[in-house]
Symmetry: C2
Subunit: 209 residues, 2 copies
DNA sequence: ACCTGAACACCGTTCAAGT
DNA sequence: ACCTGAACACCGTTCAAGT
């Protein structure tokens, strides 16, 4: 577990860190693991320290309190999700329906496999320290939903109207299905099937044409 | 605080309870208050006992552990919500659009004013003890959404298709907006405005007619 | 700079004992 | 039947002290 790294203040000098090459990163990885296994409520700093082989007071050097760790975890999750959604594009020449279904499935797939992490992302209170980075990542994520909408509107394929409002309609549906999956109302399989149905209903409407 | 009540085993005998007429009910009321003020994470059994003027071990006579209290609270919340939705009907002769908007606003209104309680209702794990009552109340609630759908389908006002699937589309949208409001993404006012927009989009569809 | 060990004030849960 | 008081094993946070 001992790592050799260059000192931050003397590039030519080799120095041994006390216990870890990067305790902060190690803690974040272990915390995400614990989060996935046992949920937020059961995530304890002391147990995390034990699992990392470090004293219970050590994490406080990197995270001023438990909330700071959760915030950092939320940031990791949000940035990862934004990246995934940015990379989730339907094949060239795909129809509007296909493009939205692809996006929706990517969202739901992430939500199903990272339920606890996603809950953290959407949690009520974050320290102001990370809130700037969180909103930046949040904006990236929201844009992956809003941009396809403005594009489709420009092509006359979608109704006119505030694209943010339309994005909210889509985002709320996806978030709702994700929540129903996270709490067991919907099985993961049922959720995947549902998301296609919901996108269809949203695109074509519930009132007969 | 001393209450006089009939003993459960001798109707003709007056008896004084030790401290409370009904500690269980008192605890539930105080717990909901604490939940609303400070959130689930800050709800402590010991503080609850202090606020109720009882020893910290007393609640365990009525709730075997903290989860049992949260479950009981969830049941209260779900039954109240089911009652509210059952009572939320648009005036006679209201259009389909008006009927669904009325229902959606009632859901959102409850969600905004009982955010923490609703979170408990939709929480991941409940003890099997209450799960029967919870599913009964849950079914009542779901029916307030599904019944208007089957009614409208019978009248030819709504597309054919599994009413549960259509109900899920509506329910997921509402739940999503409620979640965005609970976590501060949407202000309560914006949420009320959004819900009307979302219902409109869902009814008429995002693809131009 | 980074971590340890002890200390403090809180938890939830259990259990003999009181009324 | 209902509640108390003490005890136990856990927390998160802080802080002097070690390397």
């Amino acid at each position: 577990m001992l790592a050799v790294s260059t000192s931050p203040y003397a590039g030519h000098m080799l120095t041994r860190r006390y216990h870890h090459g990067d305790l902060r990163a190690t803690l974040l990885v272990a915390a995400e693991e614990m989060l996935r296994e046992k949920g937020v409520a059961a995530l304890s700093l002391r147990e995390l320290a034990r699992a990392t082989g470090v004293s219970h007071a050590a994490p406080s050097r990197h995270f001023k309190d438990k909330q700071a760790l959760l915030d950092a975890l939320a940031l990791v999750g949000l940035e990862r999700m934004a990246g995934i959604l940015e990379g989730a594009s339907a094949p060239d020449g795909a129809s509007l329906h296909e493009r939205f279904t692809t996006l929706a499935r990517a969202y739901l797939d992430f939500a199903v496999h990272n339920a606890e992490l996603l809950e953290l992302v959407f949690a009520r209170k974050h320290d102001p320290d990370v809130s700037d980075q969180l909103s930046a990542a949040g904006e990236r994520m929201v844009l992956t939903i809003v941009r396809p909408i403005t594009d489709a509107q420009a092509a006359g394929e979608l109704v006119e109207g505030d694209p943010w409002s339309i994005g909210l309609a889509l985002g709320a549906s996806l978030h709702g299905i994700a929540a129903f999956t996270a709490n067991g109302t919907l099985s993961p399989e049922a959720a995947i099937a549902s998301v296609d149905e919901v996108v269809k209903h949203l695109l074509y409407g519930l009132i007969p044409r």
